[in-house]
Symmetry: C2
Subunit: 400 residues, 2 copies
């Protein structure tokens, strides 16, 4: 299958390129390397050393004998997307080319606008290029479980059947996202759902949980094949940040009371799931939603797990809760379905603790890189529009 | 009250400026005159003659002794919005500055992108300017009943209480909009709903039905005070288009089987409703949704009404259904609530037929203007992305 990956230089994008190439698919991708710039803007860097795309591709060839085509390209420009589609003729298009950060979208009006325009426009361009140039191509769009928010009822996979005032209908499940970034994903989902209806586009919209992990097996021991791993407040996600904190002896810092629940998934299983979706595409006109995560934990449970695993590796770890810079529920019901991918054959490979162990071992090699950017571990960007370092909560240290 | 109107040169904007000024409010507005360009792009013009804003303001002064402040300004530029807010200090901000056309948004990728970016970014700029400069100001955002689509259950005003798998929650009612324009309104609604939650913004989101009519009493007999009235496929709405067709002896052209139901409201009652919302603002943190329409009809009933009223005025009218260029349900359930505005004191003044009579009399004066653009009455823009004139349906003529 010919798979085009938008955002091939990113955390998921570079992993997926290798995963798919190893399975014999023809892979091509594009990236404008904005993620590298955004993380720099946050005063941070990837915990894992990452080489330029040219070296990544050379390493892929040397170490694995695999090839991938690449364009440094701005996918917000439709003529660019057209040119790529006319050259590559993708059977599937994976959209990982969005700005994926909630805090980044909350900085100010310019960041909010940038994130939504970037994400909506790149999605539009891919949708229209499929319609006009590759109408049979399957669009695999990365969304987030955060599109749903934390309602007081079970979360189905995209749609639910309801009775209201004595009548019944199957409707999209209401989305209650918690940042302008999450909203941009909802906008994209809504645009795609509509395109499936009117153009018979085939699409899979992946509501992904929080992904963590430093590697997939396909990266082997060639350091040039490592994917990025961020730990700043904007581009680092919960487990990844906790693990980076653990290896440098920084307290683990759940926000607020730390009872926010989320679904989690190791990077390798994210690759498995995305590939299952690609190898079993949606039908023409079908808009399919997959909730993609395995285990649900609250942030305190996660911090405890990181501590337990880190201690097995000889690290000394404290947990110290921080004031919550976000506006979110800290105690809530959370029960999302996640059956669709299992029905396609998805089998979890590593549980959270097993993956954390691999991850911590990897990260210990890069302690100095993280230590050098230690100050980015405490957030500043607040949901109320102000920006100043959040404080530790007194009397909230858990097992410190 | 100091009211800022984004989009003051438009159909609703210019009417509202006069309506509010006549009630003693201090009115200011901005416009980039894009609507005039878009209608030209459609090969059309306003059925009513419209003078430049400078002359409009002069007429307002001469005929009514009223003033309004105006900026020719691009509200997609945050620094422009900032400058206006620092000068005018609005107590209320009415956002009528979006591109309001479903067909226009369906032309191609460039139009779809333009409409969504224009609408999302201008809304963001107004939201952020309120937060940062006028935090007590009330945002009145014009949405559309089209945000809901046509579900098989009653449509509440924004939110509904549901039971799902034995648990209860109050949630946003799912939106199923029918074009990229309608989607842009949903994106805006979602962004505002979130801002109310995290910033305590106060907002009223008006899900407006299809507005029709040539005038409000405040325009009197000064032709320079007339608002625009469009009849092309993109910017003309159902009743307005039917009335324009009637006065030049063109068949009235419901799309498809013509049983699509919509809610309708005369221009003067739209002004009454918007003003009620402004004079009874939402509370800090409140995101309030008003379904704003009065009567529900299907397109065939409407065409019949236009014919009946037109015949009273001595016009000979045929109804001839057209192939439907849109993808929409042509037979469906439709029962939206509309109680919130009544609770604020809204009282319908003119029923559909009474208003049509006033309108047809007005439009008969401008027959030549409409006749000169006769070809724009048959649509070309199709929801499947192609563009060619739609055909009359054979055997579908209703009472022709």
């Amino acid at each position: 299958m010919r798979v085009f990956i938008a955002g091939m230089d990113g955390y998921l994008g570079w992993s997926l390129a290798q995963y798919l190439a190893a399975r014999g698919h023809q892979v091509a991708g594009a990236d404008l390397f904005l993620r590298r710039q955004w993380v720099e803007e946050m005063g941070s860097c990837s915990a894992t050393p990452i080489v330029p795309m040219k070296e990544r591709l050379a390493a892929l060839k040397e170490s694995r004998g695999l090839e991938a085509k690449f364009w440094e390209a701005d996918l917000r420009d439709y003529s660019v997307v057209e040119r790529i589609f006319k050259e590559f003729h993708p059977d599937a298009v994976v959209h990982l080319g969005e700005c994926p950060s909630a805090p980044y979208s909350m900085v100010d009006v310019h960041h909010a606008t940038f994130v939504q325009v970037n994400n909506v426009v790149s999605t539009f361009n891919l949708m229209f290029a499929i319609r006009d140039l590759q109408p049979e191509a399957h669009l695999l769009k990365l969304g987030t479980m955060g599109e749903y928010g934390t309602p007081n009822v079970d979360i189905p996979e995209g749609f639910f059947e309801i009775e209201y005032r004595g009548r019944r209908d199957r409707m999209p499940f209401p989305r209650q996202p918690g940042s302008f970034y999450h909203l941009s994903k909802v906008h994209g989902s809504n645009n795609i759902m509509f395109a499936c209806k009117v153009w018979k586009l085939r699409a899979t919209d992946v509501m992904q949980g929080v992904v963590f992990g430093t590697r997939i097996d396909e990266m082997g021991s060639d350091e040039r094949l490592l994917t990025r791993l961020d730990f700043d407040e904007s581009f680092g996600t919960a487990i990844n940040r906790f693990c980076c904190q653990a290896v440098i002896g920084h307290p683990l810092t759940p926000f607020g009371r730390g009872h926010q629940k989320r679904g989690f998934l190791p990077l390798r299983d994210s690759m498995q799931c995305l590939t299952l979706a690609l190898e079993n595409p949606a039908q023409p006109g079908e808009y399919r939603v997959f909730n993609q995560f395995e285990e649900v934990y609250d942030l305190t449970e996660l911090a405890e797990k990181v501590r337990r695993v880190a201690e097995q590796l000889g690290l000394k770890v404290e947990i110290h809760n921080l004031e919550n810079p976000r506006k979110e529920m800290e105690e809530h019901y959370y029960k999302p379905d996640h059956q669709n991918l299992r029905d396609l054959g998805y089998k979890p490979t590593h549980d959270v603790e097993a993956e954390m162990k691999i991850m911590l071992a990897d990260l210990m090699k890069y302690r100095d890189r993280i230590e050098g950017k230690r100050e980015v571990l405490i957030p500043k960007i607040r949901w109320d529009g102000t920006s100043h370092k959040v404080e530790y909560l007194s009397g909230q240290a858990v097992g410190a």
